[in-house]
Symmetry: C2
């Protein structure tokens, strides 16, 4: 897998290109909710490693999943017609996700950048560097969630 991605690939995150034709909104929402879960799993694994026994292979695995999904054209999972509705559960995506393209691009590129860097430092095996970069990825996650995800019910 290439470490560096083209501008076209970055743009594809933002624009709703690559929509799989004839897929029901429910499935699109289910897919995007699943991507968030897989990213959550990967973050949880890295957290467990940097806070406990550090296993380089596990961290590389998780960081590579974050990188691949961050660069994976997630924008295509937010096509028109999926502003409301349910996948695994009712969508938590705010309306602004479908209208504020400048901000979407900003948060997507921030996540992209930090996830690419995490995959790079994970390969070096330096746990302190990984821990610091893990924090930056977490901030990039939060940057998007704060803007585009409805607040979690406690």
């Amino acid at each position: 897998m290439k470490l560096r991605y083209s501008v076209a690939a970055l743009t594809a995150i933002v624009l709703s290109s690559g929509v799989v034709a004839q897929v029901k909104p429910e499935q699109q929402i289910k897919w995007r909710q699943s991507v968030m879960q897989v990213q959550g799993w990967s973050m949880a694994r890295i957290k467990a490693n940097v806070e406990g026994n550090y296993n380089r292979d596990q961290v590389v695995q998780a960081a590579n999943i974050l990188q691949a999904t961050a660069n994976g054209g997630l924008g295509s999972l937010f096509p028109p017609g999926t502003e409301m509705g349910s996948g695994w559960h009712e969508t938590k995506t705010k309306a602004a996700m479908f209208t504020d393209s400048d901000k979407v691009k900003e948060v997507a590129m921030a996540f992209n950048k930090e996830a690419n860097e995490l995959a790079r430092v994970a390969a070096t095996g330096d746990s302190a560097t990984v821990k610091a970069q893990f924090g930056k990825v977490g901030q990039a996650c939060k940057g998007c969630h704060d803007k585009f995800r409805v607040e979690e019910k406690k």
Copy 2:
């Protein structure tokens, strides 16, 4: 991201290493069901491309997600205590997944091999080669599902 993975990484797919501590079975099952969905999304995207207008960037994105997840230590999402239960829905994993380690290793390594090769050929941009390799990945998916997933209710 490295294209080639170590024997240790391959083994990690099979063995239940890398279990995130103190995670409820429900969450582990939710994570593994989500990985399957993300892989399904990636396969659907590639299918749409090889059967329709071929967009190299989309295919690379999807193939990289398949590769990263195939090499991502999925075995850790099947820890003891998750043989039954629900995540997004009741688990469809058969009991054999937790007992027949030789077969698990066989299907995991087959998927790993074919997904790595798909990512490699996706980068070349030759749609005919990608289409052929996409078929092999599909067979690898089926090889695992036939053995370890309960039959889908129609």
